[in-house]
């Protein structure tokens, strides 16, 4: 197991380097000159040139990339072009909000999506199943800004139960977390339903029924355990995506997460922030994948990562 983890960790280095190189080239290929954006729309050419020199953007691209990588090796992500603050600090202030939102939404998705999916599988073909499927379809297809605005309208403006925007306490977390959970919840529910349905038809379930095991125990011991792997995969992917920042939800709720930091940085062509941010996001995704892989072994004892 340990060697597996170590191997996977070792592999994430080239992956991360690939991300850095890809982001670097995409950023520099994108039209839009950071120096001009920094200088403002009505700056004259001399100021723009001076700023370009100041930012080191007049150097050849390979040199810029080499510089970036050598700084990266010293864990220095550089400084924001605009605010001059270290990228590390910018990210450190935004990450907690993102992690908090991602975990909360995954909890909601799991806590509702799993029982919903199981229920739909058990009541397969009934009205319950039908309405459950419709709900899941709506949640998968409804854009999150729409759900978010709807929740704000109902729970903040009309009922006044929650603040409309901002972060801080648990009060602030609920609406954005529910909004972000919507899509994952529906995915989890649908995945759980189909996996459970498949497992429910297996011989060993019939055997379990035959030996007089209660329906609830069958569900938990046999059905859910065996249905868990694909569900975990879906949840892992969703969680990884949420860690990358839920731009839309963050914008709607004025949530100070990484997603919006990145999007604003892209608009401002604040290269160091975009690069550092995407690198962190990629590393987050890699670690979530690793954790999911490890938990496979936990849920399915047949899976062993020896060698």
């Amino acid at each position: 197991m340990l060697s597996f983890v170590l191997r996977r960790l070792a592999w994430s280095v080239p992956t991360a380097l690939l991300v850095v190189a890809a982001v670097f080239s995409i950023l520099h290929l994108t039209p839009g000159d950071p120096a001009r954006l920094v200088a403002g729309e009505d700056a004259d050419l001399r100021t723009v040139e001076a700023i370009r020199r100041d930012l080191g953007l007049d150097r050849p691209l390979p040199e810029q990339l080499a510089n970036y990588l050598s700084n990266l090796a010293r864990l220095d992500l550089g400084r924001s072009i605009h605010s001059k603050t270290p990228v590390r600090d910018e990210l450190a202030t935004r990450l907690p909000a993102t992690v908090q939102l991602a975990i909360a939404s995954m909890l909601i998705a799991a806590a509702i999506g799993l029982p919903l999916g199981i229920g739909m599988a058990v009541k397969h073909g009934t009205l319950w199943d039908f309405f459950g499927s419709i709900l899941a379809t709506i949640l998968v297809s409804a854009p999150s800004f729409w759900i978010g605005m709807l929740l704000i309208l109902i729970f903040a403006v009309m009922l006044g139960w929650f603040p409309a925007a901002g972060s801080g306490g648990l009060q602030n977390l609920i609406l954005p977390a529910v909004t972000l959970a919507g899509y994952s919840l529906a995915l989890v529910a649908r995945m759980t339903r189909s996996e459970c349905l498949e497992v429910l038809e297996q011989d060993y379930v019939r055997t379990a029924r035959g030996k007089g095991l209660g329906e609830y125990r069958i569900l938990i011991r046999h059905v859910l355990t065996n249905a868990m792997l694909p569900i975990l995969t879906v949840m892992g992917l969703q969680f990884g995506a949420a860690l990358g920042g839920a731009v839309v939800v963050e914008s709607v709720f004025g949530w100070p997460g990484v997603g919006r930091l990145l999007v604003e940085a892209i608009f401002r062509r604040d290269f160091p922030i975009v690069q550092g941010g995407l690198l962190i996001v990629a590393l987050g995704f890699l670690s979530v994948n690793l954790v999911v892989d490890i938990s496979y072994a936990y849920f399915d004892p047949r899976i062993r990562y020896n060698k």
Partner: protein
């Protein structure tokens, strides 16, 4: 298959809930950590408005303010963007600028009537040739860090904004300032490159804010996040991505402000800003979407405040393009568009049509109906110019930077099509558009520069600031902002004169003539001046919105 039932004696669902439980603990920890530094709004909005949510950490403000006088409340403003820096001359967007305006003071200040008034300078005089300006400083003013504002401090700031070696981002603003000299501890002399009539207006811009030299020296780049000025409000806290908190400067030279403090909350989504305003969680919401205007206007707890901005929306012709070099074509394209109708129907009235190139709040601005809507005449002009069946062209623009902008351009496109001009809209993300729009004359043809949708703002409310960079032939892009390569010797001459002139009456006459020429020659379609639309709670008083998008808050209360 068959050995499936052998596995897993333990209940996996339990394991699952253990994981969930661990995750929940982590989240709660994260939540606690994040919520500790929250300075709660000191005063809740009136309960009648809506059941406002409970404040999260009511104790946080207790440590800071020795509030003796009856509290004026904390004003919460929902803004559109998190600032990138609060180091005034490095700010390039109106969002952080408006924060700089209340944290810092300047030598001169813009009043509600947009004239330059005394600020840190009590008075000033210009030499007879208009190039040496003497400013007498107010005595005894202190920076928030206790340092005294004297001529040395001001000179330090002027030297910084005109420095070539480490240029500030707004350096281009100050190109005409040559040097600053300390005459005595409260007298400063500024020398300009030739006569420069609008210096007092330039010095009232956010970029010319006077910053504590001690803070500049000691904080370096850190100044961006820890501004130290002399203004009515003192910087307290900046929670990245979320809010900037200021508190009252009790020692403000102009008298302590009524408000306890200001919270700028970063809310990028317009509908959410509306929700905050409706629930009273924000006292002022910036930039309301046109679609919500009617509904909000019907709400007695909300007042809608509209002010024409300094942004002129226009469509610029590339004068080097053979078709657009023909005056008749340019006139036809002007005559084909019904601007008042577009403003009314698409922008919900959030624009001012004057038919002239200078925003109406700027002194010397004129109105004209010389190019008003007349589609029949447009067709005739096109036929006269040799295009009886119209032509095809491409318009470059930035995508949806303000509400209703894309729809506005689509309406323009439709009205052009009605007279036979088939224009393709090529709308791009802002930075990508900038890269195209600032192409110089040599590249203009190869890149296909034809029509540009622009919304350029004057740096400060002065016709020189607005017209020179856009229409003087020395300012062809990429150097300046004359992006359509307009060239007229008389206009150049007048703009040069106007820049030197210090007598306001003579300047007004000069700029009137410039505008009349531009209206005759139509180097662009002068669409409208965008209107700033802010929402205030009805109990907010004396928060004056200026066309510069800044709020005068020293006298505000709620």
């Amino acid at each position: 298959m068959s050995y499936y039932h052998v596995i897993s004696k333990k209940i996996s669902l339990r394991k699952y809930f253990v994981l969930v439980g661990v995750a929940a603990v982590i989240m709660l920890l994260a939540g606690c950590q994040a919520s500790t530094p929250v300075p709660a709004p000191a005063v809740q909005p009136p309960a009648a408005a809506s059941p406002a949510p409970p404040t999260t950490a009511p104790a946080a403000t207790a440590t800071s303010a020795p509030t003796a006088v009856p509290p004026g409340g904390t004003l919460t403003i929902a803004v559109t963007f998190d600032p990138d820096t609060l180091d005034a001359p490095n700010i390039t967007s109106p969002g952080p600028e408006q924060m700089a305006m209340v944290i810092y003071d300047r030598l001169t200040e813009l009043g509600a009537d947009l004239t330059a008034r005394p600020g840190l300078a009590e008075s000033w005089t210009a030499s007879s040739n208009g190039s040496v300006w003497t400013f007498r400083l107010r005595r005894g003013v202190q920076f928030h860090d206790g340092q005294l504002v004297d001529a040395d401090a001001v000179k330090f700031n002027i030297d910084r904004i005109i420095d070539d070696i480490k240029p500030v981002k707004r350096k281009a603003f100050f190109a005409k300032i040559k040097s600053a000299r300390v005459v005595d501890s409260n007298t400063l002399e500024i020398t300009t490159d030739g006569a420069f009539g609008s210096l007092p207006y330039l010095l009232a811009t956010a970029a010319a804010s006077i910053i504590s030299p001690k803070a500049i020296r000691e904080l370096g780049d850190g100044l961006a996040r820890k501004p130290v000025g002399t203004g009515p409000f003192v910087f307290q806290e900046w929670v990245s991505g979320e809010r900037v908190v200021l508190k009252r400067n009790d020692r403000y030279w102009g008298g302590a402000p009524k408000l306890d403090g200001i919270i700028y909350r970063n809310v990028p989504e317009a509908s959410t800003r509306v929700a905050l305003l409706e629930t009273g969680q924000a006292d002022i919401a910036q930039h309301l979407p046109p679609s919500e205007m009617k509904r909000l206007a019907a709400n007695p707890q909300i007042q809608i405040v509209k002010v024409p901005s300094l942004e002129m929306r226009d469509i610029r012709f590339n004068m080097l393009d053979k078709r657009f070099s023909d005056l008749r074509v340019r006139q036809a394209m002007n005559r084909a568009i019904n601007v008042p109708e577009i403003v009314d129907k698409i922008l919900a009235g959030a624009g001012t049509y004057t038919g002239a190139p200078v925003p109406p709040s700027i002194f010397g601005a004129i109105k004209s109906d010389k190019n008003r809507y007349d589609p029949a005449l447009a067709k005739k002009l096109l036929a006269d110019a040799g295009y009886p069946n119209g032509f095809k062209a491409t318009l470059w623009g930035a995508k949806g930077t303000t509400a209703g902008l894309n729809e506005m351009l689509e309406a323009v496109q439709a009205q052009w099509l009605a007279v036979g001009i088939d224009v393709t809209l090529d709308l791009r993300e802002v930075a990508a558009f900038q890269a195209l729009a600032t192409k110089g004359p040599e590249e203009a043809e190869s890149t296909g520069k034809q029509l540009l949708s622009l919304g350029l703002s004057a740096r400060y409310p002065d016709p020189d600031s607005h017209l020179y960079a856009q229409y003087h032939s020395s300012q062809f892009s990429p150097k300046g902002n004359n992006r359509g390569f307009y060239k007229n010797a008389r206009v150049d001459d007048l703009l040069d004169q106007g820049g030197r002139e210090t007598d306001p009456a003579k300047r007004a006459a000069i700029y009137r003539e410039v505008q009349e020429i531009l209206i005759d020659e139509v180097p662009g379609v002068f669409l409208y001046t965008s209107e700033l639309v802010f929402g205030y709670r009805s109990n907010v008083k004396n928060a004056i919105l200026l066309p510069t998008q800044h709020l005068l808050l020293a006298g505000a209360s709620k």
